[in-house]
Amino acid sequence: MLRLEKRPSPSRTWAWATPVLAVVLTMIAGGIMFAALGKDPVEAIRTIFWDPLFNPQFASYSRPQLLVKAGPLILIAVGLSLGFRAGIWNIGAEGQYIMGAIFAAGVGLALYPVETRWVFPLMVVAGIFGGWLWAMIPAVLKTRFNTNEILVSLLLVYVAQNILASMSLGLLRNPEGGGFPGSRNLSQIPAMANPELIAGTGMHWGVVAAFVVVIAAYVLLQRHILGYHIKLAGQAPRAARFAGVNPTRLTVLCMGISGALAGMAGMFEVTGPAGQISIDFNTGYGFTAIIVAFLGRLNPIGILLAGLLMALTYIGGELASFMLSLPSAAIQAFQGMLLFFLLAVDLLTNYRIRLKKREIA
């Protein structure tokens, strides 16, 4: 009989080994699923994990996509991870991402056709503000009226989506767009564009910001008293109050940081890869970032790697559905498996499995 035994201290080895194990298990279970769908499992797994990077036919297109997709995921996930560590559950990054994009695009388009260098930085600030503002709604409701931030932040995603639709049809619609929904293409306006910085790499300002944020979050959690308070509040809320942590302040701060980073991601997306505000601007980065945050063990470096891995399954998944005509639901199930296995094997960090014969009474 299997028995779980709590470890005296969390295992450092397993803390790093469990994500790898989860990926391996996902490959096995996913392979079985693909086989059941009548596809060659080895080929499917290779198409997802290998071809986007190394297949000479696709790599030139898909390799830059890796950073383009990983950038916003990492940026959002790092912000979320701070809150998750403190036990503050912002599930609405998708909405904050949308609002960041709308605020940034709104400020940019209001200044159109001004052509000076400071428009882009101003839009960054507006994007950060938009995301922050949207996250402040659940934060204030939680601290003032003790509402549940999970519900409020999640529901505000749908509000944000409707505002997005309204913006692309109304206020921000391109006056020269012949009546089609969607704003002007910001990536084609030099003062507002977020271009690829090094050709063929997919590197844009949002990716740079993601790397900076990873480093900043790492330093914050390792060396700064705020990072310590965040960890303390999540692990032992009463001990945190004893240490002088103000739960209200911490909630507002964590929600604010995650909202601001999500808004920033939205800003870089709307001025770069997406190019414009449109009804289908958001593609679920805000939700996937939750998976990325946990896949990376809520650790900034882990999130960096997890973001790249997740981007890879996105690109590879698209490639697989295109090349092997796998249904997109199968790809989503595959991504779901990743989170499932991650959470399941996570307990190996704190528990060890003992094989023990059941004693007969």
């Binding site: 005296p8 201290s9 969390p10 060396r223 700064h224 008293i225 705020l226 310590y228 960890k231 303390l232 692990q235 032992a236 009463r238 001990a239 109050r241 004893f242 240490a243 002088g244 103000n246 004693e359 009474a361």
Partner: protein, 508 residues
């Protein structure tokens, strides 16, 4: 009183990874006997009774109950055989009433109305007045214990195990509990009484088995031994009481006036108009049965719960509206009762836990950045000065035994050169030698000029270290009185008498 053998334990051994909890333990209990199981914290008493109650399976050894082989694999089986247990920590639902709580602990509860009348009948018979319709959340600790006892008595047990039953009772309540237990014993129920309070055992018990480090070191008849003899058997060494230096009192360092706080804890006790002052060099002992506002008082003093500015003054400055770190800066350190989760974060290392409350006074943070080297040195210093047994400061707090963690937590606060010290239950769950060390450290700080407030449920401890004595009763604090000259009866009355036990006197 001793009759035929009821329970015989022979050669029972139980080992956990890294520690042998019980090694070759043997003893017998006769029907109708009150048998004491005596030992320090960590001596293996709990493990032993858990085996008798079917919660833990022994590695080796045998148990016989009325001559039959007895190997309970779960408490239900133990209860069916006739073994009942009252735990030290109650397992009651506060939002349910007494009868509902009793029903939850029964295999086949009768209809509520019948159960209520049976509860009434048993409570009258044994002098434990209890209204089956009352909400458990509204009951005092002593009354809650009665719920647990009655729950056991309804099963008509042959052996009743009581784990440290008096730690939550006033002296008067203890007396009434003893009457009940004696009555039970006279009717043939054996009682296994676990305690480390020697005087109680001398008054109550027929036989005693003394455990030390998992082994039976002696069996004796408590009435024929002095408390000191038993203590030395229990500890295995001669004990030295803490030394106190006569000292001149200084200026008032902590002044509390008109402190009223609604409890932040559900079913907690609100503080009502508390006032006292403690001078430098003085130790104020605050007694009280658990749940009479001790936790709330600590929160209000530590700054976790804020009040009006002038209700709490440190060195004359109003600090009632300030948080824990401002109060630390002003010189007040505090140690809450609950070690894991409140005083320390279970999954964090000792170094990280040293930072928890030491950041302000030890200057471990500058410009928002943590000086980990300095923090590690602080943690190592605590481990060394307070003899914390640990493989190193990198281990998680939860890996330490309760006593060692307590030494660390108390040591962390006392190592900060405090002006005011507030400690709730400083030696709870700590072995006698470590407890003596902690008490000595507290007295040393007082001698150096700190004002000390010790909240404790251990009267002996308070009488040993306190200069002045006050008691918390339902959120109110009695006026402090000098310890010298206080009688145990007066203390009992300060603690709130018998909590409605007068009825029981007439009934019994």
């Amino acid at each position: 009183m001793t009759g035929t053998e009821l329970l015989a334990i022979s050669g029972v051994t139980k080992a956990y990874p890294g520690v042998v909890a019980n090694s070759d333990v043997s003893f017998q209990i006769a029907e109708g006997e009150i048998h004491a199981l005596l030992g320090e914290n960590g001596a293996g008493k709990s493990t032993l009774v858990k085996m008798i109650y079917g919660l833990v399976k022994p590695d080796a050894g045998t148990m016989r109950f009325r001559g039959q082989s007895y190997q309970p694999t779960e408490p239900r089986q133990a209860r069916a055989t006739g073994v009942a247990m009252v735990f030290q920590h109650f397992s009651l639902f506060e939002a349910l009433n007494v009868a509902e709580n009793v029903a939850l602990g029964m295999e086949n509860p009768p209809p509520m109305r019948e159960l209520s009348s049976r509860i009434k009948a048993v409570s009258q018979e044994y002098g434990l007045p209890l209204d089956p319709g009352r909400m458990v959340g509204d009951l005092s600790a002593g009354e809650r214990q009665r719920v647990e006892i009655i729950r056991c008595l309804l099963q008509d047990p042959k052996l009743l195990i009581m784990d440290e039953p008096t730690s939550v009772l006033t002296p008067q309540e203890v007396e009434i509990l003893f009457k009940t237990l004696r009555k039970l014993a006279s009717e043939g129920t054996a009682i296994l009484y676990i305690s480390h309070k020697l005087e109680e055992i001398r008054t109550l018990c027929d036989e005693a088995t003394i455990l030390r480090r998992g082994k039976v070191v002696a069996t004796c008849t408590p009435r024929e031994r002095t408390a000191r003899e038993m203590a030395e058997l229990m500890v295995g060494a001669t004990l030295t009481p803490p030394a106190r230096n006569a000292k001149a009192k200084g200026a008032v360092a902590l002044q509390v006036t008109g402190l009223s706080v609604a409890s932040p804890i559900p079913f907690g006790t609100s503080l009502k108009d508390i006032g006292f002052s403690v001078a430098r060099g003085e130790v104020l002992g605050i007694a009280g049965v658990a749940g009479n506002g001790q936790d709330e008082l600590l929160l209000a003093l530590s700054g976790e719960v804020r009040t009006a500015r002038d209700t709490v003054k440190i060195d004359g400055a109003g600090m009632g509206d300030k948080g824990p770190n401002d109060r630390r800066a002003a010189g007040l350190v505090s140690a809450p009762e609950e070690r894991l989760g409140h005083a320390a974060a279970p999954d964090m290392s000792l170094v990280e836990n040293a930072l928890l409350s030491g950041a302000v006074r030890k200057g471990l943070v500058s410009g928002g950045f943590i000086d980990w080297a300095k923090t590690a040195a602080f943690a190592a210093g605590i481990v060394k000065d307070f003899d914390v047994r640990t493989p190193g400061t990198h281990v998680a707090a939860r890996a330490l035994s309760g006593g060692n963690l307590q030494k660390f937590v108390v040591g962390r606060e006392l190592s900060q050169a405090p002006g005011v010290i507030v400690i709730n239950q400083p030696t709870w769950g700590v072995d006698a030698a470590a407890a003596a060390a902690i008490r000595q450290a507290i007295l040393d700080r007082a001698a150096e000029g700190a004002a000390v407030v010790v909240i404790s449920q251990d009267l002996d401890e308070l009488l040993e270290i306190a200069d002045n004595f006050a008691a918390l009763n339902e959120g109110r604090l009695t006026a402090p009185r000098p310890v010298q000259g206080l009688t145990i009866d007066e203390i009992g009355l300060m603690m709130g008498g018998a909590h409605g036990m007068e009825v029981a006197h007439h009934g019994a």
